[in-house]
Structure formats: C-alpha cells, structure tokens
Subunit: 632 residues, 2 copies
Amino acid sequence: MDRVTWRTQVLFRHLHDPGPDWLFGLMMQSKLFCPRNVAGRVFVSPDYNQSMEQQREMTMKRIGYLLDRGVFRGWLTEKGPEAEMRKLAFMDVLAIFDHSIAVKLGVHFFLWGGAIQFFGTKRHHDKWLRDTENYAIKGCFAMSELGHGSNVRGIETVTTYDTNSGEFVINTPCESAQKFWIGGAANHATHTIVFSQLNIDGKSQGVHAFIAQIRNADGNICPNIRIADCGHKIGLNGVDNGRIWFDNVRIPRENLLNSVADVSSDGQYLSAIKDPDQRFAAFLSPLTSGRVTIAVSAVYSSKIGLAIAIRYSLTRRAFSVRPNGPEVLLLDYPSHQRRLLPLLAKTYAMSFAANYLKLIYVKRTPESNKTLHVVSSALKATLSWHNMRTLQECREACGGQGVKTENHVGHLKSEYDVQLTFEGDNNVLMQQVSKALLGEYMAAQKRNKPFKGFGLEHMNEACPVIPSQLTSSTLQNCQFQMDAFCLRERDLLNCFALEVSQYLKQGQSKEYAFILSYQLAEDLGKAFSERQILQTFIDAEATVPAGSLKDVLGKLRSMYALICMEEDAAFLRYGYLSTNNAAAVRKEVTKLCSELRPHALALVSSFGIPDAFLGPIAFDWIEAYSWSSTQK
Amino acid sequence: MDRVTWRTQVLFRHLHDPGPDWLFGLMMQSKLFCPRNVAGRVFVSPDYNQSMEQQREMTMKRIGYLLDRGVFRGWLTEKGPEAEMRKLAFMDVLAIFDHSIAVKLGVHFFLWGGAIQFFGTKRHHDKWLRDTENYAIKGCFAMSELGHGSNVRGIETVTTYDTNSGEFVINTPCESAQKFWIGGAANHATHTIVFSQLNIDGKSQGVHAFIAQIRNADGNICPNIRIADCGHKIGLNGVDNGRIWFDNVRIPRENLLNSVADVSSDGQYLSAIKDPDQRFAAFLSPLTSGRVTIAVSAVYSSKIGLAIAIRYSLTRRAFSVRPNGPEVLLLDYPSHQRRLLPLLAKTYAMSFAANYLKLIYVKRTPESNKTLHVVSSALKATLSWHNMRTLQECREACGGQGVKTENHVGHLKSEYDVQLTFEGDNNVLMQQVSKALLGEYMAAQKRNKPFKGFGLEHMNEACPVIPSQLTSSTLQNCQFQMDAFCLRERDLLNCFALEVSQYLKQGQSKEYAFILSYQLAEDLGKAFSERQILQTFIDAEATVPAGSLKDVLGKLRSMYALICMEEDAAFLRYGYLSTNNAAAVRKEVTKLCSELRPHALALVSSFGIPDAFLGPIAFDWIEAYSWSSTQK
C-alpha cells in the first residue's frame, strides 16, 4: 500500500539489484549496529548514551563497513533516474537506523559529491567522483558561516585570483565569516567545497564554489587552515560539525567549480549568465537534493513514530468505563484516535507527496528547475514541520515510555529538529514559495494569459462554490475537497497580491511589502502545499483498482483533506466554510476516526519498517520489560 | 516587574534569610557546576556530553555540596507558608541550572518527604523528617507501575497484613505491577514510599502508602527487593529512574502512612472515611506539590528560552531590504516579532498565574483542596504545554544555534518534555478540570443557587455582549477581554453540559458520555485555564501604580488576551467573534507586536535570570565563537 516502498520495490525488481531488504539485513548482521536481544526479539539502534566523540567514531565505522560491502557502489559514477532512485531508497533505509549516518553520508555524497557533479565540469568529475565514491577522500561542504545561514548571498569569505601563480586565494576576513556547522569538518573530512565571494580586480562577482583540501591523508589539518569543533548538539551527535577559518589558502585555478562561470588563467571573469542574481539562482538550483532528502526522511521519521505509538495504543490500556470493568485500550478512546489517526492520514498523504518529489527530482530538466525549487521548498517545510508535530504527539501518546530513548519516538525529535532550519529555514522557504506564486500571478496578469505552472491552472476556471449544507457524502467527495482547497489557495493568492500592491502604492519597497504581508504569505504557502499534497494523493489513489484497498485509501484521503480544513483557521477566518459547515467537517473527522480505527494496525504495518528498527513498546512490552529480560 | 521574583525578594527581605542570589552564587563558585569562561563571560551548565551514569553521579555530588552549605536547612522541619515559599523559590533557582537536580530534589523532598509529612502522622514525622532533610536517608516514591501511570487506582502491587508478626507483606504479583520510572531507585535511594492495594481479610481497601527500605546504608539492595534500571532517556539523565519488584517484603505495621486510614495490630481496618473514592481523593490531595512545581518550573524554562531567543534576535541580522543596505535585525521583522512577542506576553501572564498557584498552595486548607486540585491541574497542563511550544519556537527562531546544547533553548525541550505526561497526563488532567466544572454546573442547577467557586461566578451575571465593531481601544480594554473569555467559558460549559446530558439520555453511561464529549471538554478546559490566567494578570496589574510600567503591563495583558482569541479557533467556530472581529483581533496583535518591540530587551531582562545561566548566543556570540575563544 505504501507507494514509496512499492515504487522502490518495482524499481529493484527491474534492476535485479540488491534492494532495501539486503541493506536492512547487512545492518542487522553486524555488531557495529548494536543488535540487542530483548525478550527474544532483536532490535538495532545506535547507543545514544555514548559521548559525542564515541558516536562520531561509530558513525564512521558503520560507513566503512557498508563501504566494504559495496553499498555505495555507483552512487556517483552511475547515472540516470533509476540509479538516483536507488541511492535515495538506500538513504531512506539508512535513515531508519539513524539520522546521523544518513546526514553524514548526505554531506559526503549529495553535498560534496553533488557539488562536484553539478557545479563542476568534466575535469572535476574525472578527478574526484571515483575517489569520493570509494572514500579515498572524504568531502564536506562549507557554505554557511557564523554570520550567515539562510542568506547565502551575504557570506563574507573572500576569494581572489593571483595571476602570477595562477591560483585562487581564499580568506576568512572576519570572525563572522568563519564556516560554521560544516558536517564532517571537525574530525574526518579531507576536502571541502568552499562557498565564497569571488573578487576579481576589486569587483565582486558574487558567490562561487571552490575545492580546497583541509586535511592530509594522515588526518592532520593542512597549513593555513584552522578548524574548531561546533560541540555537543541536541541530536545528530554522530555527525562531527566543525568550523573552518581560511588564512590565504592557495588552491589551483582548476579548483573553481566552473559550470556557470570561470576565470581564465590571465584572470578574466567569464560567464554566459550576465545577471549575478540569475547566476546565483542557476548555480544553487542543483542543491535541491538536500531538500528532497529532508522531505523524504521526515516522512519516514513520522512513520516510525506512528508505527510505535499506534502499536503501543493497541496494547496499552488505561481506566475502565464501568466499575470493575476491563481497562480500555488507548486507541479505543475517541480522543486518542483523534490525536493519532489524522496524523496517520497526513503521513500517508505526505508519503505520496514525497514520492512525487523524488520523481520530479530524478527526472529534472533545466525547464523544470523552477517548479522543483518551489515544490521542494514547500514540501521540505511542510513535511519537516509535520514530522516534529507528529513525533511530539506520538511521544505524549506513549506517556513515560515515549521518553525512553530505546523507544525512539521521543529521541527522534532531537535528531530531526534541525531539519526545520537547515537547508533553508522553513519560514524563509515558505515565503519564497508565496513570492514565486505571486510572480506567476503577476506574469499571468501582465501577459493577460491563463495561469500555467505550479498547479495554479485551477485559477483559470470559475471560482468553486461550497454547498451551504455539507453532507457526509459531500465531505468525503474528492471533488469537493479539491474545490475547497483551490478556493482557499485562489482567494489567498488574490488577497496577497492585493495587499502587496496596496503597500507598493503606499510607497513601500517591493521587499518591504512582502515583509509586511507575511501573514497572508504564510497562509498562502500552507494552502499551496496542502493542495499539492492532496493532488498527489488523488493521483496515487487513481492507480489503485476498485476494492477494499481503494476504499481505505479514500478514507485516508478524506481524513487528510478534512483535518486540513479543521486545523487551518483560514477556512473560518476568510469565510470559505460557514460555522455550520465547519461543525460538519469536525463531526466527519470524528466519524472517520472510528472508521479508520479497525485499519490502524494494517496501516502502520504497511509502512514496511522492519520490526528490529522499531522499539520494545511497539510489541509485547510487558515481556520486554520483565525481570527475566533484564537478566540477559 | 516580574512578580514571582518580586514576591520572593519581599519574602526574603522579611525573613532576613539568604535568598536566591546567595544560591546562584553558591553554584557559580563551585567547579561541580562546571563554570566555563567564554570570551570573558562565565557560564555555568552541566556537561550534557557525559554518559547517563556520569550525569547521575554529578547530580548527587552537587546535592552533597549544597547540603553541606545548608541550602536545604528547614525544608522539612520548618513549617508555614513562608518556609514553603522559600523552598519553592530555591527549587526555581536550582531548576534554572538544571532540571535533573530539581527533579532529583523534588522526589526526595516533595514526594518522599511530602508523603511522610502529609500521608503520615507524628510517628512518621519524628522518625523520618530530620533524617530526610540531612540526607541520612535518601527517599524515593514508588507510585507508577509498568502497567499503570495516570490511573493510580488501577495499580496491582498488593499488600496484606500478617496478624501473627504484626507486619505488612508487600508483593509484586505480576510483571505489569513492577514499579517503573521511580526517580532515585536505580542508584541512590535507600527508602521508598510504596503505593499498593491494601488487602485485609481478602477484601481490597484500595490504594495505600507504605514505607519500605530498599537499600542498606552501604548502598546494597535489601533482601526480597529486585531493582533494574529504566535506562537512557531523552532528557533528565541526571536522575536515576529505576524499576522495583517486591517479593513478599515484610515491613512493620507502623510503616503504613496512616493519615486517613490505619490497621490495628489485630488486623482491623480503620478509617473515618467510609467511601473508598473519597478516601482516595483525600489521600492524594497533598500530591498537588508536584503539579505546582511543574507549573512554576515550566514558566522559568520558557523565560530562559525567550531571554535567549529574544537577545539573539536583537544581535543577529539576516537579509537586507534594500540592495546593498544593511541586513535587518531579526526582531525588526514583523514575522519574527509575531513568533516571539506573543509567547513573551503569555509567559508573563503565566508567571502571574504560577505565582497565584504557589500562594494558594502554601495557604491551602482542607476547604480549598478542591479548588487547588482544579487550578493546579489546569495550570500544570497549560503551562507545561506552553513551555514546550515556546522552547520549540525559540529553538527555530535561533536557527542552527538553537541546536547547540550550550545555547539551552533546544536542549531544554528534551529536559522538560516529560512534564507533559508525568504527575498526570496533561490530557487526563484537563478532562478532570472540565468534569469538575460540570460538577459545579450540575450542583448549581440542582440546588437552584448561584455558581460559587472555580471563578464561575460570572455565570450568574447577564451574558456578555461583544460589540459588532471592535476598535483598537475596545480590543485593549480589559473588561472587553474578560467578557470575551467569560462568554467563551460560559457557552462551552453550557454546550458541554448539554452534550453530556444528551448522551446520558441516549443510554450511555456517565463515564462514556464524558469520553464521547472529549472535544468540548478540551475546549472548555482551555477556556477555563485562559480565563483564570487572565484574571491573575489583571489582579497583578492592579497592584502597580499608574505609570510607564503599568502601561507596558497593559500592553502585555492585551497581547495575552488577544493572542488567545486569535489562536483558539473556538472564538470563530462557536461564533463568539464574527470574521470581521477576528480580523480586527489579528490586526491588533500585529500592532501590539510593534508596540512591544522597543521593550523586548527590558522585558526579558526583568526575568532576573543571571547572565551565567543563559547561553553564549544571548550575548556577543561573534566574540564567544571567535578563534581566540577556542584557544582557552
């Protein structure tokens, strides 16, 4: 039922390649992955009671083990959508074990390796890709600085070109320019991509990326490089984040990643793209991979949380309804259903959306880059926020057991929290989404043509009308649901455009008008994301033949649509739903909770996460926590 | 300005006793509290990179140091509201350093010590209180079991009385009856309160509390006691939570804590309270201390989070509005103000509420127990949820710096998360609040008399009317704000009573009718809590003379009231606010954000948390993270 798993499996069948089961098995076979027998059941999970230093070394050892078994074969040297899908699927599997190992690999393969692939040209590919895949070198990615994170254009590292020696000279001109949060830099990385302002003949050409060596093969730090540790973090302590200062570090001219711009040996700046803003956008667009993997791993993390919390709620009882009657299973309380089952429906919906995002990513073309940027920004923010909220609810739903590290739900929060702000702060990303939608709105107005792109084509149709009396059958109808979502998006886009134009008329700058209209921008970003997600659900549902599976999917889709309507006050605030209709939505959500209750176990089982990667409370926890189990 | 600090200081002045400053100073003087010099500024904070085992030992060592300096003198042997207020203030100060030390002390003094004081009688006081205060013995509190947490009445440990030997015999009859999450049990505690069903002549008399020794003076586990570790947790790893099994453990008859019931030497069960439900309620009522300290410490945690995030937002810049213009301070973005300043206003409001709770706790009488139970339940849930939400927003508002452990905001989440479910799951507590309000409603109907108690007297007045056009001056008017809150509470209580009665008419049991009406119960619990909090704000404001301080307090109170209206969809859902009025509320919140912006630094400074207990990003973080600072 889970489309992500399903599609992955189809791919693997096609390729006759080892698949996720093989990788899950590799991990379960090795002591490095800390297998633990609890009441006859094996669980694997890192030992999070280790110090940061120990966790970092373990992450590196695990990578070495997987490397020796060929897990990363072809990750940078094979091309095409299928190879990319396989790599993404393997990343999902590894992230199910531990977020640190996934992030550490992500930095090496997707950020360092991806920068070589996409910012570099043949000379870089030939020199670096195979050594990266084999871990002959270890790469990191020095973009953010102490003073600049989301605002990459503002970074202060400066690179100049020395015509005499034919070298670039990289410098950290002030303390706020130190590279900060660089995963891999504190202990293991030998090389880094350095993002820096490129200064040619006293003129800044904007941000460019260079390759620099920071450690030699023995692990000693290179001359003119200073490195410090970012220290202990609330999670992800298996990743060695570090800080880097460059003291006039000299690198060969060839180390400029020259896909969009180059410097000739005599110091001429050469680029086909004249506008620095456009150059910057073209340059950064391949970085989407980070947002794609965050969005996808956020959904897997939600799945782990829900699989554990729902399984626990089907074995844990509390309070009885009748005097001396049996205690009631947690999931038989309507209030407990209301806490978990809407999140389950959302997670299904977002799983379809994440899969869609993967597909448009691996099939990307220069023409689709803008759509990919907007969709990946919206989904990265929406799915990572959803994940944190889901984990928090799951943790509380598990009571005290949710704070026990080995039961994962609570621990995962600290591991994944960073997703909300890295690879672009979620709020900033959502503002970019709304700006892009407004751009399309203005363009459509200006050329007096229909909307085209970002799924806004519905704006070309007549405005949907919501019936004044919503019956259960209407509420569960997918056309009604899409109408309500489109109505919201259309109206919010109109309101946003109007408000921005009013600020402009009052003499505000365009940038400041956006800043003042932040509330409508947020509402619109949410409306866009949720409509996009609903669409991927409907598309996925359409591929399933009529039958009980399709029926359950329909209920999940209705739950997704209606819970979005109930939770987003915009529906009442802007009058898309009357108070009567909002009451009908609320009632239907309760009804859907009881309709989905019997399917809860099947729905979390179909996530396909092996039992060993869940926690003891997902199974017979009385046995797991029995005295005899403590004696082994 | 901070009333909690203010009242504490008044008390200390009155008592001529060492106050919070003395205790802050004691911590800063000792290496045990890990003072660290960062760019000329000293910070104290536990080393959270230590293993669970190391953190536990450090907590115990810190307690030993404070004990030697007389910090706990009188905590159990001095009586009266002033001594209790001093103890609570010291707990606040210690919790500002580390939640583990506060919880470890809370278990020993408030749970073990409090049980002796309030469940016991003179024979227990004489024998145990001084030894507890001196740490000659170390106490723990074995209430929750693997199978039962919030539902204490369902615990399965069984105690019988042996007439021949005059002893009680305590037994763990099954694995789900093992005591679980017992703070102090894994390593340090020598004695425990055991909650158990008391079985006399084959008849269960319900839950009672007994004293049992679990370790001898050498730290070895006593015969017939088995102990296991609860293991690593997502936070609070300085507390050694353990599990206990009792194998027919024999204790003297005098070890029954006999404040409400006793067993005579010949085995007769004696109690003045015949109804087991009432007995249970009378018995547990002194446990309020746990909810009081949780509510209070939740507010302090929010204050730490906001002090750090707001100070950072006043030094960190991102993006410029004009090309090549200076980057904008985070707190000058209206969206950033909107994220933090409403939480600041709520934290002020809740600080007043927490102080009110402290006062009614230390002045409690048998008559006020019911009110104390309801108010402490409502505030424990509301303030701890607020704390988690505030810390999450502060963490995101600090970007990557929020995940650095030394900057606290992210780390505090894991430390405080457990508050949402311990000492009563928040959802369960809120249901109890609504049930109590309904009880008062039914009683008032039945005796056909006005409402009296729980602050419901407003129900005796005419129903407030909300003007159809809300101006800024109305919105900032405290009578309007209170009217809106009372209207919501009154209507929700009426709706809840109606819905429950309809379910009863349909033949549902009373318990099940409550279970089905959970949504109205939740809405009502929130309405009650927020009205109660607003009232404490208004009361506090009234004590301040006219002037600029009162003006700022008025703005904070308006922000509190209006953000509650904006965030609780009930105002729109049930029609207390029209969409026009809701839009006016939203606009006013934005206006208040800009009006409070200039006071932001003063408002967090007045929390009175010493700089050393905040993190580096609250100050000159460029200097703190400079290369030269890493070299010390």
